[in-house]
Amino acid sequence: MKISLEWLSDFVSWDDEPAALAVRLTAAGLNVEGIEEIRRTFPGVVVARVLEREKHPDADRLSLCKVDDGTGSPVQVVCGAPNVRAGITVLFARVGAELPGDFRIKKSKIRGVESCGMICSAAELELGLEGSGIVELETDLPNGTPADELYGFQDTVFEVEVTPNRPDWLSHVGVAREVAAIYGTKMSLPPIWNAVQGGESLGVKVRVEDYADCGRYTAWGAQRVKIGPSPRWMQNRLRAIGARPINNVVDITNYVLFELGQPLHAFDRGQLAGSAITVRRAPEKTSVVTLDGQTREIEAGTLLICDEKGPVALAGVMGLGNSEVTAQTTEILLESAFFNPSHVRRASRRMGLISESSYRFERGADWDMVERAALRALQLLQEHTGARIVPDWADRHDPDHRPADPLRLRVWQVNRVLGTAVTTDQVAQILQRLGLKVQPMGNAESISASAVNMMVHVPTHRRDLSLEVDLIEEIARIHGLDQLTGRGGYRIPGGAVKRPRDVARDRLRGWLSACGYAEIVTSSFMEAGDHDHLGLPADDPRRRTLAVVNPRHGGDTQMRTLLAPSALVVSRRNLNAGSTPPLRFFQINRVFRTDLPLGRELRQADEVLLPAEPEYLQLVVAGWRETGLGGVPADLLEMRGAVESLSAFLRVPLTLEPGTDEVWLDDGAAWRVRDAAGRVVGLAGRVAPGVLAAFDVDAPVALAEIRLDDLDLTPAPARFEAFIRFPAVKRDLSLLVPAAVSFGQVRDTVAEAGGPLLESSELFDIYRGKGVPEGRAAYGIRLKFRSAKGSLKGETVDAAIGTILAALRDRWAIEPRG
């Protein structure tokens, strides 16, 4: 919203520079976002009359003119405009004049003929008027009159941010009220038409079908209207705030809208059928042409203004082309009404049509301004269109409409909410400055929770004030928020409770980053093709996504049901950017699953409509092509190791079991992760080559995912156990293991056969090749024995090893090497 200070000064005065006023308004809640200086002057440009016009001797399209610019002697000038002719009054730029765009007029020769100045077009002066060619002025202007007297204009314009609760600030008078309150001065309203009693009747009957849709509808008449341009001061003001002048009638309705905040609509009375105006809802879907020339579908139920043939306006939004004011209009029916805010809002939303009118009506018009705005418009119509105002008007309003109840105000509550110590007098003064009527109550000086100190009557333009606390905000604004001083920090009773889950999550993030993983934050949306790229079966519940119904143009719509796609997208991006593999990432993020139980108590029945939002930890290693122990890919070994370390770090038992239920993982290179109860709480493995190709990732990607909600992140504290101080005995075994036997089987057998003396076993080497028989691998395993009873004797250890070797031989045909 733009506010012209020149316009504003019609209603209020203030003793401050514009910048200082802007600061005061901003501090009061009307945020001034920009200040624009308008300085329009035309030095050296004057009114002149064309005395003679003849063809240029050397150019068909040019004219040679003599003009009288008020200096007494005619001036010769060459003009190129087709509409130049003797007798017209023009704007003439003398030699030495400065035109917009740093264009200086000099004496010159045009095709051999001397030209001493220039006859100006609207465009050359940047007047923003309609039409081409030179400007033709009224003939009664004296020659030599400076153009500045006609078009010169200086103004300062504020761009203000008006919050939805303050529709009253969407007008100059509304802002003037605020300025008056801030500076403690008076403000005045613009003049209105002094209704003349008796005389002709309007001849139009108004009927409102439902006052719930339209609380008040007034119609007014103006006859013998002469359509033409509006006065220049009005055009200047409209232009200053960014509106385009059209003609006197349309400009007047717009002017009143920006001045008083009340939208008006002028119908061409001659185009209205019959003598009845009805405000009613559209019974069915229909199609209309609005003032802007657009054909629009309107839904059944849309509020319409109708003549005896059909709709002539979309109530509160825009008029229709069929009753538009044109150059031929001579009689006007002026509408000023109060429409239901939410009704206008719905209609405007549905049609995607937001007008200055709908913007104000949906925020709430001012009931009392309905009549005053019409009277102001009539006064302007009478003055600037030569109209004769019909002294009679139609006014239909809700008979049950009552003014708002006065509000009770307790000074005790003011100070309780604000933390201030203001007095009853101060409060009353502030409210009165804002134009509110204050009615003191008996116990004005008593300050307590139950003592109502005053009743406050709220004017119709402040319908946002409906509760005691709304008044408290007004007091805070005007009293000054910079006056608030605390009592040294509010102390929270009870103090902080840091949730163990938050602590664990934060430590986890620190630990993973120290392990080389870079934390990523990925979008909650997934791309439309992601499910197919992953190859999820048709009945996979994760295909049942929630989809946004009103996405941005081109934006993703589906909420993600798994994190895998984001890992692949981030891997691709960084591999393509040339980062050196292996690339490591982690994220802790939510997915959105409609197929899982919500897992919390429902407070609202509708909560069954919400998805579960399980939180996952995901680790990613991308682009690592090396292999490790036993020829297993290094990224796979790292994922296994990471899950094992995670288990140790969180002190939550997790086990990895070869195999996967995920089609997008490489079947032979993946694990299920199970918790102590055997539930699957995660996965680890390599992404299947086909899926990598579908996501355009040209390198291996391994990942691990753990559903954090499934883990108990508050494990019991560690309990100390006395450790054995007797020395351990270490023995290395070299075993020839058949290819069909896995390390896991070897490990389990060793542990079982080793008995209580075996403290640990550790694989340190796998060797295939020279010296090892075909189909076998040599495993180097280090065993550690220890006893709580004393130092172990060699024979005891030998016996234990014998048992282990026997078990390995019996069960797996494993022989010691060499």
């Binding site: 609760n165 309780r416 928020l481 920090g489 980053s513 120290a514 989809a547 909420m559 950017a577 409509l609």
Partner: protein
């Protein structure tokens, strides 16, 4: 000639070795390499030789000069306590091997946790709520009437009439109050969504942190105190703050909180668009209708709430000019946030 050179070499090296201090070493240097030194004398004698003999002797003498100079320098270093590099058995300038490569924490979440830590210190607890939320919690219970322009402030992603992506962390306020009786002081960090096109300062997904304090007589002055304490702790400076009246449906009175620009100290710069102030949060006193939606009796409690955008604060803190960098997950960006932040 060669004999003389060999003899000079062994004598000089012995003398260098035998020198027991810097003065003695200097004497050796003068005796051998000085203007009247023995080696200098031999070099002068070269002019009497010719052809191959001259060339060979010249090369040998120069090599000897280099050798003796190095020996003198090495001996000198020994006296001064330092040891020549070659005295080590290993090349200790080779690159080290890190215990593990260094990863990074995302700057957004670092800032989020940093903010939480400050509020923990002030006695706040932490909670969170769903991102896919009911219209009821995101709007209705927060005193956004149906069909009201206040809803236009935030462009919303809808799934259907009743379900949407939360546009703010404020719905968690209501969920918290439904479950607990005051006094309460809580923060709610999390991801929020707006249906708008991305540019350098807008993202359709971003992070907020919400704060809520409710008690028998919490006031706007307490809010001001809390905000000041936060700013002082987070920005580490005595940056003044100011309240500007504003409008949020769920608070009354509502304010926007500005802090003096940390980049210029209030004199005006590009960061604060020449205003000297940076908007850091919206705040206000909890609206009675919100208490009512939460089921609290009228008039029993007062409370304040505040909400701030974490992205903007992270951008300010780290000098990040484009919000989209936070969500691209490019390692060239992420790697800049390694280590202690």
């Amino acid at each position: 000639m060669q004999e003389m050179i060999d003899r000079l070499r062994s004598e000089a090296l012995a003398a260098i070795h035998a020198a027991d201090g810097e003065p003695a070493l200097e004497a050796v240097r003068v005796a051998v390499l000085g203007r009247k030194g023995s080696l200098t004398g031999l070099l002068r004698g070269l002019k009497d030789l010719e052809g191959d003999a001259k060339r060979d002797a010249g090369a040998a003498l120069n090599a000897l000069k280099d050798e003796l100079t190095a020996a003198l320098d090495a001996r000198l270093l020994a006296f001064s306590g330092a040891r020549p590099v070659t005295a080590h058995a290993y090349d200790l300038t080779l690159p080290g091997r890190a215990p593990a490569p260094l990863g990074s924490r995302h700057p957004l979440l670092t800032v989020l946790e940093g903010i939480c830590d400050i509020f923990y210190g002030m006695g706040f607890s932490r909670d969170d709520g769903p991102e896919v939320e009911l219209d009821y919690y995101n709007f209705t219970a927060l005193n956004f009437p149906d069909d009201h322009p206040a809803r236009d402030i935030q462009d919303t992603f809808y799934f259907n009439e009743k379900v949407l992506l939360r546009t703010q962390t404020s719905p968690v306020q209501v969920r918290m109050m439904e479950q607990r009786e005051p006094p309460l002081a809580c923060i709610f960090p999390g991801r929020v969504y707006r249906n708008e096109n991305a540019d350098a300062s807008h993202s359709s997904e971003f992070f907020q942190i919400e704060g809520l304090v409710v008690d028998r007589a919490v006031s706007m002055a307490d809010l001001k105190d809390t905000v000041d304490t936060f700013v002082r702790n987070f920005f580490g400076a005595e940056a003044p703050t100011r309240f500007r009246p504003h409008y949020f449906p769920f608070t009354e009175p509502s304010v926007e909180v500005d802090m003096q620009c940390v980049a210029c100290g209030g004199s005006g710069c590009g960061v604060c668009k020449q205003t000297g102030w940076l908007e850091i949060m919206g705040a206000g006193m909890v609206h009675p209708n919100v208490f009512r939606a939460a089921g609290y009796p009228d008039d029993r409690y007062t409370g304040f709430a505040f909400g701030m955008g974490i992205d903007r604060i992270a951008m300010l803190k780290y000098g990040i000019s484009d919000i989209r960098l936070l969500y691209e997950n490019d390692l060239r960006f992420l790697n800049q946030f390694r280590g202690v932040q």
